[in-house]
């Protein structure tokens, strides 16, 4: 029974761990910048040029925000250009965001290493026509030699072909763990970037945060339906007819989606493997137990106990032991998994000592993994033990029921 309990506990705990690990990977990959759902024009997906933009009316934005499960949407402008100073410069992706909406949509604002996140334009009213602020990825900042408080020149070709330029003030240095953002990302206020880039009212991507990652596809479909509706503000000259797509994270980063699918398959292989070991032990124990009591079974048969009753007694004994072991194991495993769900499981001793966490497929995430206890992590190991107990008890039960009374009583077999 102890073996079953330990096996079931281990399985329950491991499944919750895998859920947490994969969840952390998906969260890190999507929450930093991509969003669990993302709107962009089809043209931008095919060729991410500055001119491949889309518009979203206020009505559409509110409709998307009001959808069940949607937390926030933050339309962004993204252009590529040169940032730097007289001494050094580098190519960067300059991302224009609404600071408050973006904070509620992605975790970029929480990844500030030095300084602070962008302030909304409205908050600058008491200042003179102030220098636009910028938050720079830490690798990029090191490459061009800027830190908080320094100036940063921005130079790029705007959407109308003109040369856009601006002097920015670095207010924050970002360490997001996302390689692309840390090496090339410059975040600034969206309205300012739209003005310099001649992109008023237009966006390149709109990340969306949702409450439950597993509902991404369903919500993406609902958003696609909203985007297919005829736009109300069709007289607006800024409204450019374009094909707008809402894609779930699985479509944006299919490699991580595949990893999740592979991981689900791996979970089942692991489950089968562990249960095979449990079954081997259980079968052996049941068989030995039945063999040791063969004389007693012969006595029972001799005094008139039907063979079928003996069969069921032995079988149920194994099944009951399995159930008891599974109950204890599920309680133990789930309790431990719940503890790690609440307080996290520190895996820093397994992580690369040079980084703050794990880096996987260009996405880094914390070395503390928070488990996710789900009904399947609790009940699958429990339910799966029942057929195992039944099968393992079957042979000893048959053998017991087929006991030859005289031979067994006289200890001749």
């Amino acid at each position: 029974m102890a073996g079953i309990a330990v096996g079931v506990a281990m399985l329950s705990w491991t499944l919750a761990y895998f859920n947490g690990f994969i969840g952390e990977l998906v969260k890190s990959a999507t929450s930093i910048s991509l969003g669990q759902i993302q709107i962009s024009s089809k043209a931008h997906i095919d060729a991410p040029s500055i001119n491949n933009t889309f518009t979203l009316s206020q009505v559409e934005l509110e409709e998307i925000r009001s959808l069940d499960g949607v937390v926030e949407i933050s339309p962004r402008v993204k252009v590529y250009g040169l940032v730097g100073n007289e001494e050094r410069s580098a190519v960067a992706q300059i991302i224009g965001v609404d600071p408050e909406r973006d904070s509620a949509t992605t975790t970029v604002s929480q990844s500030i290493k030095d300084g602070q996140w962008l302030k909304p334009v409205a908050a600058k009213t008491d200042e003179k026509p102030s220098q636009p602020h910028a938050v720079v990825g830490h690798h990029l900042a090191r490459q061009i030699g800027v830190s908080v408080g320094d100036e940063l020149v921005l130079f790029f070709e705007a959407a109308d072909g003109a040369l856009g330029n601006e002097l920015l003030k670095v207010t924050g240095i970002l360490k997001s763990g996302n390689t692309a953002i840390d090496r090339t990302g410059v975040f600034m206020n969206r309205e300012t970037l739209q003005e310099i880039a001649a992109l008023e009212g237009q966006f390149h991507v709109a990340p969306i945060k949702i409450k439950d990652v597993s509902r991404a596809e369903r919500i993406a479909k609902q958003i696609s339906d909203i985007l297919k509706k005829p736009q109300i503000e069709t007289k607006d000259p800024n409204v450019i007819p374009t094909v707008r797509l809402a894609r779930s994270w699985g479509e944006i980063i299919p490699q991580i989606k595949q990893l999740v699918e592979v991981s689900d398959g791996a979970n089942y292989i692991y489950l089968i493997f562990v249960y095979f070991i449990i079954a081997f032990g259980l079968f052996n124990a049941a068989r030995m137990s039945a063999l040791e009591r063969k004389r007693e079974f012969a006595m029972m048969l001799a005094i008139g106990v039907p063979r079928s009753k003996l069969f069921w007694t032995v079988l149920l004994e194994t099944v009951v032991i399995s159930i008891l072991g599974a109950v204890v194991g599920t309680l133990m495993g789930s309790a431990l998994a719940w503890y790690h769900q609440t307080y996290g499981f520190d895996m820093s001793s397994f992580a690369d000592s040079s980084s703050d966490g794990f880096n996987y497929m260009g996405v880094s995430f914390s070395s503390i993994v928070y488990f996710i206890v789900t009904p399947s992590s609790v009940f699958v190991p429990f339910i799966a033990i029942l057929p195992v107990g039944f099968i393992c008890g079957l042979w000893p039960a048959i053998q017991s029921a087929r006991t030859v009374i005289l031979k067994s009583i006289s200890n001749r077999n």
């Binding site: 007289e86 070709e157 959407a159 330029n165």
Partner: protein, 255 residues
């Protein structure tokens, strides 16, 4: 061989072409390559006013510019019009290449890795400005007579030597037989033509012949950049201080 001369033409360094009517039918290869290098690498000073017209899928954009140069590797180009871009400038010195951002009132250095990128949104590249290869030294060349539109012309094919940092695998120049002024230049990457440069509107400036119109057409045919000189002066008096970062700022602010 992306070191195309054309930009240099554009940026005024050029034009020391002499009329060589007394040349034999096929001039010496060394003479002509040397002359090409000399043509596009003026040792004196120049000043020019020009209009650069960029035609691409976004439409047509015309920039009025003024440029000054001293020697082969020092020049300053300033956008005068339209107002939105007025003041934007490029400074090239032996120490590097900078763009002046007027809204920011700051310079930004163009890193070496970006030399292949578009210059001011045109079909020219930053590399075209910097060009530091020499035809006589860095290329293997072959000269021949050809018939172009029923007229005799000189054709010179340049193949870059090994380890010469150019992106073209072959360059073909068609030149006027007497003045050796280029009529057309074609750039190839393997067998694919990646861009064509057309020279026309030849005018005499002092003792030199100068193509006042240059048209650059990338191989995809989707865009073109035309440079038309309105004024071109050679051997003008220029202050050395204008080719400094401070000088650039001063000139750029005088829009």
């Amino acid at each position: 061989m992306k070191r195309t001369f054309m930009i240099v033409v554009m940026f005024t360094t050029l034009f020391a072409i002499e009329v060589r009517a007394d040349q034999p039918p096929l001039p010496k290869l060394e003479d002509i390559t040397k002359k090409l290098d000399e043509v596009y690498r003026a040792t004196g000073t120049t000043h020019a006013k020009l209009t650069m017209t960029i035609v691409n899928k976004r439409g047509t954009r015309a920039l009025q510019m003024e440029s000054w140069s001293k020697g082969a590797d020092t020049s300053l180009i300033l956008i005068r019009k339209p107002a939105r871009e007025a003041g934007t400038a490029t400074l090239m010195t032996p120490d590097g290449l900078w763009n002046y951002a007027p809204r920011a009132d700051r310079l930004i250095r163009i890193p070496k890795g970006l030399l292949g990128d578009s210059w001011m949104g045109s079909d020219f590249t930053n590399d075209d400005l910097v060009q530091n290869t020499k035809y006589a030294k860095d290329f293997t060349s072959k000269l021949s007579w050809v018939q172009e539109n029923g007229k005799r012309a000189l054709k010179i094919v340049f193949i870059p030597n090994k380890n010469v940092p150019v992106v073209y695998s072959r360059l073909e120049y068609l030149m006027e037989p007497k003045t050796w002024i280029p009529i057309r230049a074609e750039f190839f990457d393997k067998k694919k033509k990646t861009r064509t440069m057309l020279f026309s509107d030849i005018r005499k400036v002092g003792e030199k012949h100068v193509p006042f119109k240059l048209v650059l057409q990338p191989g995809d045919g989707k865009s073109s950049t035309t440079i038309q000189y309105e004024i071109f002066e050679a051997d003008v008096k220029l202050d050395d201080a204008m080719f400094t970062k401070r000088g650039l700022r001063r000139i750029a602010k005088k829009r």
